[in-house]
């Protein structure tokens, strides 16, 4: 509100302005210190809290949530003296997040040959019918288009593009276990269907 532009007043103005600026600078540095403190605290707590959030969201990546586990076939002694393929029904549990899909599947346990116990999928590699073991002929014969396989699944004749498919198996605590899988049909190589 200075109306009189005298030099002494101007000087006083300058001094006042300088004081004001110094006060402002002090206020600003105080502000930025508190701001920094605040920001730091927020970042620390925010980071600490985002860890469980991220882990929660990434759960399906950190653990297996969808997979076919091992299914029991039976005690290993059962299969020690087989002379022909034995059809067994297994229960397959597939986890899908919070659900499980339970299904019953058939598999063949083959007679032990050269100390190796093999498990075959009965699904025909031609078009997917399930192949019965024909005792009388000592062959696997597919009822759909008569693909024929030997006792160990080797292709004899018919439209099947490859031998019958082996399933991954293991013996755990005297229990024969298998991992059931499906394979792509109509191709000469064995390829797992996801």
């Amino acid at each position: 509100m200075e109306i009189n532009p005298s030099s002494s007043h101007e000087q006083a103005d300058h001094a006042k302005a300088a004081d004001q600026r110094a006060a402002e600078v002090a206020a600003i540095s105080r502000r930025s210190f508190l701001g920094a403190l605040l920001g730091f605290g927020t970042v620390v707590v925010g980071a600490a809290l985002s860890v469980p959030l991220i882990r929660f969201a990434l759960h399906p990546l950190l653990t297996k949530t969808t997979e076919i586990g091992w299914s029991d076939i039976g005690k290993i002694e059962e299969f020690a003296s087989l002379t022909a393929p034995l059809k067994k029904l297994i229960t397959v549990d597939q986890r899908d997040g919070w659900r499980k899909i339970v299904s019953e599947k058939a598999i063949y346990v083959l007679p032990i040959k050269d100390g190796v116990l093999r498990v075959l999928s009965p699904i025909c590699p031609h078009l997917g019918c399930s192949i019965p073991w024909i005792e009388a002929k000592q062959q696997f014969i597919c009822p759909c288009h008569t693909a024929i396989f030997t006792l160990d699944g080797t292709r004899v004749s018919g439209p099947a593009p490859r031998p019958m498919d082996d399933l991954e198996s293991k013996v755990d605590n005297g229990m024969l276990k298998v991992r059931y899988q499906y394979f792509r049909q109509l191709i000469p190589t064995k390829e797992v269907l996801a």
């Binding site: 105080r30 508190l34 809290l49 882990r55 759960h59 339970v102 299904s103 399930s130």
Partner: protein, 492 residues
């Protein structure tokens, strides 16, 4: 850089350093400077105080609830079939799931507590006075919506206590005169509690209420800024005279400090004492003693005193009158006097209501403890909940699942039929247990529901269409055919 349209100020003005230039560039395009000024430089008459922190803390809690809620919905399925399994999955299997769910559940309690503190502070400071009626009403609406959030969220886990507490809660709606039963059916999506109730509560909890709350928070903050901070009780609510202090930094620091403290307490609680989940809701359980969330206990107790034809008074009339009284407070109490000791009547009523609520809440607990039958049942329920929490997570069998035991419990004839089904290689095309394959249709379901005579005929003499699909006529003795038909019938 040659930015011809934006010369770097007039000659003689101090040259800006790099950071300032970037800030200026950004500010000219976004107005971030005036936005920050608007947000942070709000003047507070009489300066910053701890008493003013509750509004900001509520906003912070709302954001926290939103974040945890969104994350929880990653694994949640809002149907009566799956809700409980998915929550159990979150609690027992998902990494950090129990913690997050607890944070959300304790967060809802924290919201109610801080709401009460915010309301109490506003009331005691007379901060609703002086052209702040609309601001007050928007706050009351927010209070109502937040309580609705707590009510709808409580059902979502679909465990025993959720189910039965909500059954009681929705039953109360039927006491409303004229539209009562319609209202109840509207909330439940039918006469009974069921999957439609859950859908409705989910949609309200996740879409409708949060949307409304978001809009109202914006309005509430805008109206608050419009009216200006009220300052201490000695301040004139319309023309403040006290020297002011800006919102930033001290008030912001206080707000943030309390918010951080709050989240730390919630975090520790969630970590060391996670919220539990009871066994899945069993509508057939007639013994269950339903108890609502703690902040609904006073109302619950209150309702006990209104039996029969009086129920409408307790459930509808008095709560409605109370709500109207609270909402209309700035219209009823029009004096500009804010100091609580100069308004003994208003403050007295407020404290009386608060004391009543606390007493009723305490009485509710107390009576439960005194009644041996109830105390025993409540202890049993607690034990069942603890038992359920100890059990490992049991995934839910999908609808397409074939449960092996079902196939085993066959009558002898059907069991014999199953052997024939396999020896005749029917399973080769129709699949194990008639589930169907790419080669032939499934037998379970519609086919299994045909009459035995019809099935026998079709097996002996397949139709043209069946023959074209490579179905072979079944050539077995009559008895075996009977068994086969019995087996197919068992596949339903």
């Amino acid at each position: 850089m040659g930015d011809a349209q934006e010369p770097n100020g007039k000659p003689g003005e101090p040259r800006l350093n790099r950071r300032e230039r970037i800030y200026q560039w950004f500010d000219r395009r976004t107005g971030i400077g005036s936005l920050m000024h608007e947000a942070l430089d709000e003047p507070i008459p009489g300066g910053a105080r701890w008493a003013y922190v509750f509004g900001s803390v509520l906003l912070f809690l709302f954001i926290s609830q939103t974040i945890t809620g969104v994350f929880l919905s990653l694994y949640y399925a809002p149907t009566a079939d799956h809700a409980h399994t998915t929550v159990a999955y979150i609690v027992k299997e998902v990494t950090g799931g129990s913690f997050l769910r607890s944070l959300h559940a304790y967060g809802s309690s924290a919201v109610v507590i801080v709401l009460l503190l915010h309301l109490t502070q506003t009331f005691l400071y007379g901060a609703y006075k002086g052209r702040r009626e609309v601001l007050w009403i928007s706050g009351c609406a927010l209070l109502g919506l937040m309580l609705a959030m707590a009510f709808t969220g409580y059902l979502l886990p679909w465990d025993q206590k959720a189910y039965f507490a909500t059954t009681v809660g929705t039953n109360m709606a039927s006491e409303v005169p004229l539209i009562g039963s319609t209202l109840k059916r509207l909330m439940r999506g039918g006469n009974e509690m069921g999957t439609l109730t859950l859908s409705r509560f989910f949609v309200a909890h996740v879409f409708l209420l949060p949307g409304a709350i978001l809009g109202l928070i914006a309005a509430h903050v805008y109206l608050f800024r419009k009216a200006g901070a009220a300052g201490p009780p000695s301040e004139d609510p319309i023309k403040p005279r006290l020297p002011t202090e800006r919102f930033y930094p001290r008030q912001v620091l206080m707000d943030t400090a309390v918010a951080l403290l709050m989240i730390c307490v919630l975090g520790l609680l969630s970590h060391f004492s996670p919220t539990d989940l009871g066994p899945q809701a069993n509508p057939a359980d007639t013994q269950y003693v339903p108890r609502p969330e703690w902040f609904y206990l006073p109302v619950f107790q209150w309702l006990k005193y209104f039996k029969g034809s009086l129920a409408v008074v307790g459930i509808v009339v008095i709560p409605t009158l109370t709500a109207i009284l609270i909402t209309a407070l700035p219209f009823i109490d029009r004096r500009l006097e804010r100091r609580p000791w100069r308004r003994p009547f208003a403050v007295g009523i407020y404290l009386a209501i608060l004391a009543t609520l606390i007493t009723f809440g305490w009485l509710s607990r107390h009576e439960d403890r005194l009644d041996p039958a109830i105390a025993k049942q409540v202890a049993k329920q607690t034990e069942e909940t603890e038992q359920f929490m100890r059990e490992p997570f049991e995934p839910e069998a999908a609808a397409s699942s074939l449960s092996a035991p079902v196939v085993v419990v066959l009558d002898p004839l059907a069991a014999a039929g199953k052997k024939i089904y396999e020896s005749e290689s029917c399973d080769a095309c129709h699949g194990e247990n008639g589930v169907g394959t790419s080669a032939a249709p499934k037998l379970s379901g519609a086919t299994a529901q045909r009459s035995p005579e019809e099935l026998a005929k079709l097996l002996r003499h397949p139709t043209e269409k069946m023959l074209a699909g490579e179905m072979k006529p079944v050539d077995v003795p009559e008895d075996d055919l009977k068994a086969l038909v019995a087996y197919i019938k068992s596949l339903k």
